[in-house]
Subunit: 268 residues, 2 copies
Amino acid sequence: MKERDHVNKQEIVEEAKEMMKVFLMEAKQYIEASFEKELWIETKSSRNDLVTEVDQYIEALFTRYLKQYFPSHRIFGEENAEHKVESLEGAVWIIDPIDGTLNFVEQKRDFAISIALYMDGIGEYGIVYDVEKDDLYVGEKGKGATLNGREIRKVSDRRGVADSLLIANLSAVNLYPKLKEAIRVSRGLRLYGAASLEFMAVATERAGAYLAANLAPWDVAASKIIAEELGCIVSRLSGEEIDMLEKGTSVVALPKVYQELQNLYLKK
Amino acid sequence: MKERDHVNKQEIVEEAKEMMKVFLMEAKQYIEASFEKELWIETKSSRNDLVTEVDQYIEALFTRYLKQYFPSHRIFGEENAEHKVESLEGAVWIIDPIDGTLNFVEQKRDFAISIALYMDGIGEYGIVYDVEKDDLYVGEKGKGATLNGREIRKVSDRRGVADSLLIANLSAVNLYPKLKEAIRVSRGLRLYGAASLEFMAVATERAGAYLAANLAPWDVAASKIIAEELGCIVSRLSGEEIDMLEKGTSVVALPKVYQELQNLYLKK
């Protein structure tokens, strides 16, 4: 166990990157091995809200790494952890060990590990790891974002709804029925079932927007950092800022798509 | 140019497999190279019905291979070819050079080459090639189906709607509004935007059903062979058989899901 005294954010982020390398390698191996066996699966709040031994193992594994590298940092995660983080003071890690658990169970694809570091409420470092594709998205406050080590270019500010594919949960469409019209004028609807990867589709301009009705902080914490670094706009569907301690609606969009959605399709 | 006299179906299919190996390798190289340059793109029947130089090149390339290997066979394709095939007598190849052209253009993923051989109206051999994932699905009448050379296991006959993800176009839901209820009781909705890959999601049991309102023969010709070999049921949404010379609705589903859809959700 190493006790380290980090004097500044930059040092912490550099150390975090080292930790992430070894953690993600071990996580990927474990997940791939899990494909070969029967999983223990439980339901949580509803019959489609699942948790598996893999979600729990990955979060516990990350917690072990964190205790070794950053013993003083707090952790705010989907599965075990200290679910009841009530403030974002200091250094807080927000983790979804398997975002898209249903996809993980049913499809063995389209799921991701999502981890963010917030310091005094500000997202400093976030990763989204698409395990099956072996695609690692990394964002660092003020420094842009990379995919597998290559810089991702900023999104277009000229593309509107009519030039874009949209990703939207039906429950978002039910909340804001005008979204049906947005879908109609867009290039079409897509739906993948893992929030962090749907954020990444927008961040890499494969879609113009992703709209969701009910996401938890760990569903968006890392993705928001990455998407904002690339010039996307992220907020509640109402336009309000996202409070990282609360569940709620969420939209990520290219800037012009965002304006069109707010002006035309996200008014009640 | 080799002129060959094939005495039976089996010989033709074996020869077709050889042709496919070289054709797909060349097609993949061309497609990957196309990612590096600006594409020439045109719209067809509507602003979201696209054709690119890649669609046209791949179909022309396949036509060249076919003329070399099977000069007497006819071809029925999305782009150029002999669009007006009016009967399925003899040996007819049905090709969609790029299924999911919008995904190809916007996402550089989730598109496929889809090719089927029908002999006297019967689907004898079909391939769906997910180019970006390098996943090749092959079905052969009476002999099962493979993914990258490994046999795919038959789908479950015990899984119903409640245990399955569903894939459905909104236009299918508009035609049969009771499908909203099917989606509600299912494990959730997904939508990927390439019919052949959505068929393959069901064929490999990553989803319970795929429902679409308006597909062309080249969207389903190969997928239907593969899905049926694995025990899936394929028909029009109404339950009628698909006529491979006509556009129309389409459903592919696991057997129990299919029965539930027909009994409960696909009645007008």
